[in-house]
Symmetry: C2
Subunit: 396 residues, 2 copies
């Protein structure tokens, strides 16, 4: 007498959440300092000071009826103008407010785009390793999902696989760079080749194949900046969230950008707004619309993430783990497991109170995801446990 | 190459929005004091002081990583415990945190419930006059919608019509009391009869027919308090928003309550959570979850609304308008138009810069909706215009 799909989604806890809840229980049993939980991707550094300052300024200077009132469905006009100006400055395109649709985070942005684009029979292509909720969102919009296997070990794109996968039903390809969980950042070369392939396939099938770029980790890189995807392919739709850059994941604020050069840009934008309407997204939270616009381009102090990443590379490398491909972005370390069966490996780690997420859940067996958005002390404390785990495999 | 339904929803502006935008343009032309805009239901009184105080306290005393961090998908546990305690106190039932699912406003609450409950072929019954987005949300969930005509002039329920409408495909009946746009508050007698009819029909068709109670105006009444709907029918699901009571419509915070006595309560709750997941609602905005829980049961100072309502009743009554059924709740006056064609009537009013929404848009022709959540001066200024309108009909 109710939707079985919704019931299943509501009762099946994700592997990550399951592990995270286990970690909390276990910490109560043996003490928090004895449990090395690397399961969840919750930012561990506070928002940049500008966020706190902006919040305080808004709350003390703006009329509360305006500040907390309904905005236009696509977002407050002044907010979108400010944000468009910021993006234009940062990425060198003259974006206008009318191209931006403010959303309740990246998940909402993606859902609006999938619902806007999907016609019966449509397919989306996703590259493993991938964030498992993509599939939930896409299927919720009525689309089929084709997950392509990972390109080991650099997690760039396997173009032969992509070439074979695109077909007349392909509505869009989704990318997530910097990538959760692999930490890979697509290179300009990858994006150039991707743009060329999609241009050619769009021509072949006589309709635009969109590129949906999910970029919540855009600012979290440890070397070169993340390339601006619309520079490489005109039919790109950008989905963004401030969850990671501004350490505001609970506030749910992000946007969809439909650049003017995308095919049917005006209609797609309208359909995104219409999708938001039918999904119940009246407007993105009004206070944080203003915070986001005023803090766009800023980033929390991620030096702790950089330090943790370095520590893991050095120390795990010394222990015999393969750290030859440290993450180029995000706050996830995607570590080859010491046996092919990553689930068994992670079970063995769990028995030592070391909580890692098996790569299989992301479509990339043979790896484990380690969220290093944690206090550095937790990593230092975990090194002997990693050493004990290596010993179990007779490698030290 | 995109969803026509989403495109249509994104381009068709609602009658209310259209009128509101016209009012802003017109105010620029002739001056804001010459335009009497009663189109939109935006609260005009600030949040209660406790909201501002709570915001300040939270921002200065709670660790920002916690305050702005992800919460559980169903809402922070402490928030739900506090809210459950508040509802238990207010309504005399021992509700537990596990029955509450925090949402991104009432629209999200409704969408989650519709998606959770809907199976192919299901129908919802709605009573006119009704908030037009209900239809959008229900159809978005794949359900059919049966709008029953209004019961004039008190806008309680036409039980003969309901009796004829319920059938084996009826999944739920939606009510909205206090009602937008009629201002009617269902009496205990109405709710008793509704509960009895639904109990009998549930038995007849061998499955529970749910009662979905959308209550964003619960605290906005001008006489008796709004009855607590689950007292009258066990299979009730409550959808609530703090938009109106706390004057926070832009912040998008509300909840779904699935009382334990509802049929399949645990499964329905899980399906609501699963619906939230597939629609991209990761969690309700975290800062305002806490504000809502700490301010539940409070209400903005609505004495201005009460004063405006009295002024309209007195002055429009003197002019010859039928004010014999003033609203019992909400901040809408639903006024019989001076000719049967409410659209023409509202056009005539618009020509005098008096902006009223035709009742036809809510499924109740012969009426016009007047949002009186405005400064009292606007009503005072509009009285001569209402008088001029009466004159056009040769009635004064």
């Amino acid at each position: 007498m109710f939707s079985q799909r919704c019931y299943d989604l509501g009762t099946a806890r994700s592997v990550i959440r399951e592990l995270f809840e286990y970690g909390k229980l276990r910490a109560n049993e043996v003490g928090a300092d004895k449990v090395f939980d690397f399961s969840i991707g919750n930012p561990s550094v506070p928002p940049p000071p500008a966020v706190e300052e902006t919040l305080e300024r808004l709350l003390t200077t703006v009329d509360p009826l305006t500040l907390h009132g309904y905005t236009s469905a696509q977002g407050d006009l002044a907010v979108r103008e400010q944000l468009a100006a910021s993006l234009s400055r940062r990425f060198g395109h003259p974006y206008e407010a009318s191209r931006l649709y403010l959303t309740v985070g990246a998940a909402a942005a993606l859902c609006c785009v999938f619902h806007a684009l999907t016609l019966p029979g449509d397919e989306y292509i996703v590259f493993a390793p991938y964030f498992p909720e993509y599939k939930v969102f896409m299927e919720g919009a009525g689309a089929a999902v084709n997950i392509l296997p990972p390109r080991y070990p650099d997690f760039q794109i396997d173009f032969a696989a992509l070439d074979g996968a695109v077909n007349e039903r392909t509505k869009a390809v989704l990318i997530n760079s910097p990538n959760n969980p692999s930490g890979a950042v697509y290179t300009p070369e990858t994006l150039t080749a991707l743009g060329e392939l999609l241009t050619q396939k769009s021509r072949k099938y006589g309709h635009p194949i969109y590129l949906i770029s999910d970029e919540p980790y855009r600012e979290l890189t440890y070397g070169a900046a993340t390339p601006w995807v619309p520079d490489f392919y005109s039919n790109t739709i950008v989905c963004y969230s401030y969850s990671k850059s501004l350490s505001l994941p609970g506030e749910r604020i992000g946007y969809v950008l439909v650049p003017p050069e995308a095919a049917d840009a005006d209609a797609v934008y309208a359909a995104v707004a219409g999708a938001g309407r039918t999904l119940g997204y009246v407007n993105a939270p009004s206070l944080f619309q203003r915070v986001a616009a005023q803090c766009d381009g800023l980033c929390a102090d991620t030096s702790v993430y950089a330090k943790n990443r370095e520590l893991l590379t050095d120390e795990l490398g010394k222990l015999g783990y393969d750290t030859s491909h440290p993450p180029q972005g995000t706050f996830y370390y995607f570590l080859p497991t010491l046996e092919p069966d990553d689930v068994t490996f992670c079970e063995k780690a769990k028995a030592l109170d070391l909580l890692l997420v098996p790569g299989s859940g992301f479509g990339a067996p043979g790896y484990a995801r380690l969220s290093f958005c944690v206090p550095t002390a937790r990593i230092e404390g975990a090194i002997p446990v990693f050493a004990a785990l290596v010993k179990q495999y007779g490698r030290s």
